[in-house]
Amino acid sequence: MDVLLLSRLQFAFTVAFHYLYPPLSIGLGVSLVVMEGLWLKTGNPVYHQMARFWTRVFALTFAIGVATGIVMEFEFGTNWASYSRFVGDVFGSALAAEGIFAFFLESGFLAILLFGWDKVGRKLHYFATWMVCLGAHFSAVWIVVANSWQQTPAGYRIEQTANGPRAVITDFWQMVFNPSSLDRLSHTLCGAWQAGAFLVISVSAFYLLRRRHETFAKASMKVGLGVALVASVLQIVTGHSSAVGVAENQPAKLAAFEGRYTTRDHAPLSLAGWIDEQQEDFAFNVEVPGMLSWLVHGNTAGVVRGLEEFKPEDRPPVNASFQFFHLMVAVGFGLLGLAGLGSWFCWRGTLFQHRWLLWLLVFAVLGPQLANQAGWFAAEVGRQPWIVYGELRTSDGLSAVVTSNLVLTSLVLFTVVYVLLFAVFAYLLNDKIHHGPDETDLIPSGALADHRRADA
């Protein structure tokens, strides 16, 4: 097998595995802020119990997120050295900013969040919870900014050097706020909030079905549904604005998402389909006439550009982009439906009697993961054949000195290690869920208890 394919496989695999965890940390971080905030506000010990239990789950996802995150940073250098030389001037600053502004913040205050319950006052502890949550969000900011620059480069010029061309920064803020940064950041964060919220919902629904820890589960369910509903509604909004941005900045990518080969007005929106890339047409397709033009331009007469405008070597893999994109959209609407339905019944006070819905909610935890992964793959496959859109081809980004045997070795190694990690993660998470919240957490201990007494 060739180095390009192996290197892409390895990066895709390591980033996909990593991407299971940070969205959970970001989403659980938001839930933790809500839970601990509710505890401080109401003094109801069940919120303290929730904060404690979900902090333990958070610690588990965070540890694997950290352990697998450093791999990506190293891979830019090990596998994509030519890419690193090309983008270092631009991309490197975003990565360094991520370290200084985000990673130090979250890892530092994580110590207090996890181990500080009995060492600091409750206000300082809550501050630490906020900082960890904020740090997790900041890390998303900088890495999405860096990735968005690859999608829609801005604020740079190309300079010739002895080692070939490289991108050099001309305007830092233009680089940071490149045309797709804000759309992609808001879309990614909503996906992360959904991931965390649906984990809380899923575990709570499971307890309710088993009639265990019911007070805890009902309270967790409400927090989870609240966050999930807000995130799922915003997700549709940010998804729409991302797609409009893609139509404007990366027309070949949008054409692949929708399987459009011809440029036309009154372009239909495909709901589901299968594309025959040889024939350059759908083998099967269900579509809504004029809908794509309407979504992109606000009127059905708008012209949507097709793949025919791009040379075959400049087109992304069409069917793969299409399927990933449509999977993401379908799951996204499904999650909105579930969050809406759950919230409606919760508001009516009948949710806990609808066992079928609770079962659906147990499995809904997979939804955000599926949608996040599919969305990420759609975004990155749709960017092909470019590693920096319009500037550097993926095949030109490889390390000059790394051979296929080396990459095969590392790919096998990472696969073995990650399979082991995933098995252990699943085992420990399952164990934590079966063990359930700690009844002794209903009584705050240590410094926190002292403060409560002092405040009372």
Binding site: A59, A63, G99, I100, F101, G108, S410, V417, L421
Partner: protein
């Protein structure tokens, strides 16, 4: 922000990248040292205390490496690209070692089974030991010089990286981190485990001093370019002197029960060692051996002045805040380790 013309931003970033990696060595150095000593402890409780002595801080300490890597990528992308792709297998192994170190801390005490705990004990120790060794081997290669072609690409092999001098520096790094970690443990523990740790300090120090003496001899004999600047500027010998005095001070402070001072002496010794390394390397980042002209320097491997300026602004804004809350967190978790229900 704009910086004055006379300020050599490339040199500033040479120092700042050095500071980040020195910070990493000081902080994660004791984590890796504790990990390397882990299997020498006897009971489950001792092992839990050792894990929890670094529990709240190891993660923040590893961030120094992540940020150092990011800064190297941004400031000197050619070095980042050449070294990471050239040392491919070594870096992949380092990643795997760091992964095991990280997850072993998190996983180990989550289940009571003996086989489970033993498995992660070994993972933690092996991960820490391998990380320390590989970091030292990488340093050894940077000091010795690696084959670089005229396009600035690495022209050697993985086996070529494992020459005796590099391995010697690897072992020396393990010894140094073990000494550093043992002192940290004396500071964080009490009772029987503390006595055990005192014994480790003595043995690790002897181990380190032997390695250090051999490394110094080998450097003077076989790597003379790593002594050139000090030879030409005798006043720089004071840095080497500080290093030696700081090391000599460690057993004295331990003997008098001044654990924190012993730890600070160890930190001073490490800072002096890194300073010597930096002084001898400057302005090279990677020496090309045998063709010296192909070396990667702070000038031919750097990003544009604009990027170096932007990054300096980022560093000036961010680093003081980072240092402030890192210090507060160490302050909050000061004192001896006590196990409670949130512990590992």
């Amino acid at each position: 922000m704009t910086y004055p013309e006379w300020l050599d931003l490339n040199a500033v970033w040479f120092v700042l990248v050095g500071v980040l990696f020195t910070g990493y060595a000081l902080l994660d150095g004791f984590d890796l040292g504790v990990g390397a000593l882990h299997l020498f402890s006897r009971t489950d409780e001792q092992r839990r205390i050792m894990l929890n002595s670094i529990g709240p801080v190891w993660d923040g300490n590893e961030v120094w490496l992540v940020t150092g890597g990011g800064a190297l990528f941004a400031a000197f992308p050619n070095v980042y690209a050449t070294v990471f792709s050239g040392f491919y297998l070594a870096f992949v192994l380092l990643l795997v070692a760091l992964i095991f170190r990280a997850v072993a801390i998190e996983f180990r005490s989550k289940q009571p089974m003996t086989w489970w705990r033993r498995m992660w004990d070994v993972g933690f120790a092996a991960g820490s030991l391998t990380s320390a060794l590989l970091i030292g081997v990488a340093m050894g290669n940077i000091a010795w010089g690696v084959p670089i072609d005229d396009r600035g690409e690495f022209a050697g092999t993985f086996i070529g990286l494992l020459h005796p001098y590099a391995l010697l520096l690897g072992v020396t790094t393990v010894a140094l981190f073990m000494m550093h970690g043992a002192i940290y443990l004396v500071m964080k523990t009490e009772g029987e485990l503390q006595n055990l740790a005192r014994g480790w300090v003595n043995r690790a120090m002897i181990f380190f001093i032997i390695c250090y003496a051999v490394t110094t001899m080998a450097t003077l004999l076989y790597v003379p370019h790593m002594a050139e600047r000090v030879r030409a500027n005798p006043w720089l010998f004071s840095v080497a002197l500080v290093n030696m005095l700081a090391i000599a001070n460690i057993p004295r402070e331990i003997h008098h029960g001044h654990d924190l001072r012993a730890f600070l002496s160890s930190c001073t010794a490490m800072i002096a060692l890194m300073a010597l390394f930096g002084l001898e390397m400057f302005p090279n980042l990677v020496l090309s051996n045998p063709v010296r002209a192909n070396s990667l320097t702070i000038y031919n491997a750097a990003s544009s002045p604009k990027t170096l300026g932007i990054m300096l602004t980022i560093a000036i804004t961010g680093v003081p805040v980072v240092l402030a809350y890192t210090a507060s967190i160490y302050w909050i978790f000061r004192g001896k380790v006590r196990l409670d229900k949130m512990s590992y």
